[in-house]
Amino acid sequence: METLIVTAIVIGAYCMCIAKRITALVRGFAMQSFFLCLYTLVRAWKEHSPELYIVAGLLFCLKVMVIPYSLDKICRKIKVKDNLGLFVNTQVSLVCALAFTYGAWVFSNMAVPGQDPAMTAALTASLTIVMAGMFLMVFRMKALTQTIGLLVMENGIFLLASSIAGGLPFFVEISIFLDVFVSVIILNIFVYRINKLFTHIDVTKLTRLKG
């Protein structure tokens, strides 16, 4: 059951890697977050812990509803051209993503030898997602993608936390959520400002400060 959901999450990451348009990216993110939320619900149901239900609820509100919505709103507001500039085309991106998965698998075998396969799978999955997020940030040109990449990485880490570490302390979880939320808001603000000043959000062109 969990394994399936985890697989779905990873697939979500793949989708984002091959997404060409921001809207698609946002959809992908929403989907991934949704599966993440599902995963948390399952665990909550298994462990009968009210905290996890709350966390899942938060997850749903924030990552599935509010954040994608705000991102969409930004896209519409600043009327960026919809495609996010690719440094590497989709095929290569996909290959990279697979490579990430493989690397993550090797790594997780190296890191925690002799764990049960589910654990290893979870670790692999979450690391894949983190790396995918990193990939998005490095190889996509638009400012928004970097916001999303950040969120994706955060998703991966959340997955990791809830899968292998058996979840973080409740209070920590909350504060992390808060942080993520605030950071998204602030990033959005700055995207506005960038757009206002530079009339584009192509961060590859932000190279005034160098040396």
Partner: protein, 613 residues
């Protein structure tokens, strides 16, 4: 162990420190007297006050350097001295070149300090405390390779401050830029603190065991002597000329010190003592006459507003006092009897000779002989250089309007110079007493038993090697000179008096002999420029300024010498560093994607390499 400075303020007042304190006092006091008149009208009031404050701190810091009995305190005082002197160098910061000089000075001295720190920390490895006594104990227990390393570091560190070739590069920039009385103190005393360091730490504490230490020092000394004086010959900026002579004289001092080290390692303690005495004596003398010369140069600068000798001349008529005092200084530094420079150079020569004869085996004898020859060569060239310096600056006809309008220096400046001039005479005639005192100093510095050793026959005659029949008596020579001179003058003025008519200088019938026909400093040093072209690499640029196609209105002719060390060592080094920096600059191109990439890569590399460490 507590490393903070307050816990380390210990003082030592053994003969060596006291001697250096005496040197500092002997030079600083006249310099301060002089500054009263010198600064008047050059800066506004608050800046003068600030300068005085700096000077006092500077002098105190030097005093602290030579009296601090603790490594940390020594370093501290050393750096304070460097800092204050740096401020003094850049004091007239309106001039671009003063800032440049200051920067070069600061960097060089800092590198030197780096070596010192390294050396001291190496020593600290083997010692309980950082005070000199426990350091002495530690040095005894040090393995030989470490001793050698420490020696090299100390030599590099102190050598940089002393301005020995090839790390002299800062000296001719920095010394001339400071106000003249500060140049006097810097050249007279500050670079001597480095010699103090060498004597205190290498000879005194570390203890010389390897002959090659002495050989190394001697070689560096010889190179410094020759390079210093040759560059000085080429200079026509009077203060730069003096600065280069500081390089030369440090070389002479180090000839004494190096000979002392070599002979100590050879086991000839008596002769080592002689060598060290010679070195210290020349140190004292150089402090005095170089101080005097810098003050004189300052007076000239104040009077004419330029430091370029080619624009001077004839000043002996407008400023006779300064001229006379400067002449004394010039005679002293050229080692002419009966002044002090003569005594110390003679003593150094004797030290090299006698050391070779009594203490050194085969090859070393030749080496010491060559060192002596180099010293003789140096003093000859120095004499030539000061004939130029005095003759071009003070004699013949003024070469420029400023020189024509020069005024004699005010009383306070003359007083300052007169004190030092008096010292040159006293140190020359009172040589025997001076040497007696120095024997004690050197003995305690090199921990040699000096019972019954005084290189003097009686109060008049120096005899470095009793029984060998080698004597020198400055007073007698002075007496002879004076008597003969008096006799001749009497004959000239009284016995055979004839009429003397003043007339135009003979001009080969060319009836408008003006100051433009005079020999210039550049012309004077031409033979030397040709002779030493292997080092100086002189080159010339001639340009014709055409009036029309057929007629040349005028020629422009300029000749320069190549600053070898700068051009072939320091500039390439700088260029290398800057190129590397330029390459580094490229890792920061402003692309945020790249930046995130760095993080990514770092993590992956670390994870892959994890097993390695």
């Amino acid at each position: 162990m507590d490393y903070f400075i307050l816990a380390h303020i210990r003082f030592i007042f053994d003969p060596l420190s006291v001697f250096f304190l005496a040197v500092i006092a002997a030079v600083s006091a006249p310099a301060l007297i002089y500054s009263a008149g010198y600064l008047k009208g050059q800066f506004n009031r608050p800046r003068i006050v600030f300068l005085h404050a700096l000077s006092v701190v500077f002098i105190l810091s030097m005093a602290w350097v030579v009296t601090s009995a603790d490594l940390i305190a020594f370093l501290f005082a050393w750096e304070v001295m460097s800092l204050v002197s740096f401020f003094l160098v850049v004091f007239e910061h309106e001039h671009e070149q003063s800032v440049q000089a200051g920067v070069i000075y600061a960097i060089m001295t800092h590198v030197g300090t780096g070596f010192l720190i390294a050396a001291f920390m190496l020593i600290a490895q083997y010692s309980r405390g950082l005070d000199l006594d426990s350091v002495r104990v530690a040095c005894a227990s040090m393995p030989s390779d470490v001793r050698n390393l420490v020696f090299i570091f100390l030599l590099a560190g102190f050598g940089t401050k002393a301005g020995i070739v090839p790390v002299h590069i800062w000296l001719p920039y920095a010394h001339p830029q400071a106000p003249s009385h500060i140049s006097c103190i810097m050249s007279g005393v500050m670079i001597k603190t480095a010699v103090y360091g060498l004597i205190r730490f290498v000879i005194g504490l570390l203890g010389v065991t390897e002959p090659w230490w002495g050989v190394l020092v001697l070689i560096l000394a010889m190179v410094s002597c020759l390079a210093g004086v040759i560059y000085a010959l080429m200079e026509h900026d009077i203060k730069k000329l003096l600065a280069y002579h500081s390089v030369e004289n440090i070389g002479i001092i180090l000839l004494g010190v190096g000979a002392c080290m070599l002979l100590t390692a050879m086991g000839g303690t008596y002769w080592a003592l002689l060598a060290l005495v010679a070195g210290l004596y020349h140190l004292m003398n150089h402090a005095v006459f170089k101080g005097l010369l810098f003050l004189g140069a300052g007076a000239v600068f104040k009077a004419t507003g330029t430091r370029d000798m080619e624009k001077m001349g004839g000043l002996i008529r407008t400023m006779p006092w300064t001229a006379g005092l400067f002449l004394l200084g010039a005679m002293a530094i050229s080692g002419l009897p009966p002044l002090n420079g003569f005594v110390s150079e003679w003593l150094t020569l004797q030290a090299l000779f006698l050391g070779a004869f009594h203490a050194a085996p085969g090859g070393y004898r030749l080496f010491l002989g060559i060192a002596a020859a180099v010293l003789a060569f140096t003093s000859g060239l120095a004499a030539a250089c000061f004939v130029k310096a005095f003759g071009i600056t003070f004699l013949a006809e003024p070469r420029s309007q400023q020189a024509r309008g020069a005024q004699e220096a005010p009383v306070s400046m003359r007083a300052g110079m007169a004190v030092l001039a008096g010292l040159t005479v006293v140190l020359g005639l009172g040589a025997v007493w001076m040497i007696r005192a120095l024997v004690v100093v050197a003995g305690s510095a090199a921990s040699i038993d000096t019972a019954g050793v005084s290189f003097g026959l009686n109060n008049l005659v120096i005899s470095p090697a009793p029984g060998s029949g080698t004597y020198l008596s400055v007073p007698l020579i002075f007496l002879a000179l004076a008597l003969f001179a008096a006799g001749i003058t009497v004959y000239y003025q009284r016995i055979n008096k004839r009429q003397v008519t003043a007339f135009r200088t003979w001009d080969c019938g060319y009836y408008s002999l003006s100051s433009r026909n005079e020999y210039t400093a550049t012309a004077f040093s031409k033979p030397f420029r040709i002779a030493f072209s292997f080092l100086l690499m002189p080159y010339r640029r001639t340009r014709k300024i055409w009036d029309t196609f057929y007629q040349v209105r005028s020629f422009s002719y300029e000749t320069h010498t190549t600053p070898v060390f700068k051009k072939y060592f320091y500039d390439p080094l700088l260029r290398l560093i800057f190129n590397m920096a330029g390459v580094m600059r490229r890792i920061q191109p402003g692309s945020i994607h790249l930046y995130i990439g760095y993080i990514f890569v770092t993590v992956i590399v670390l994870v892959i390499m994890m097993r390695r460490y």
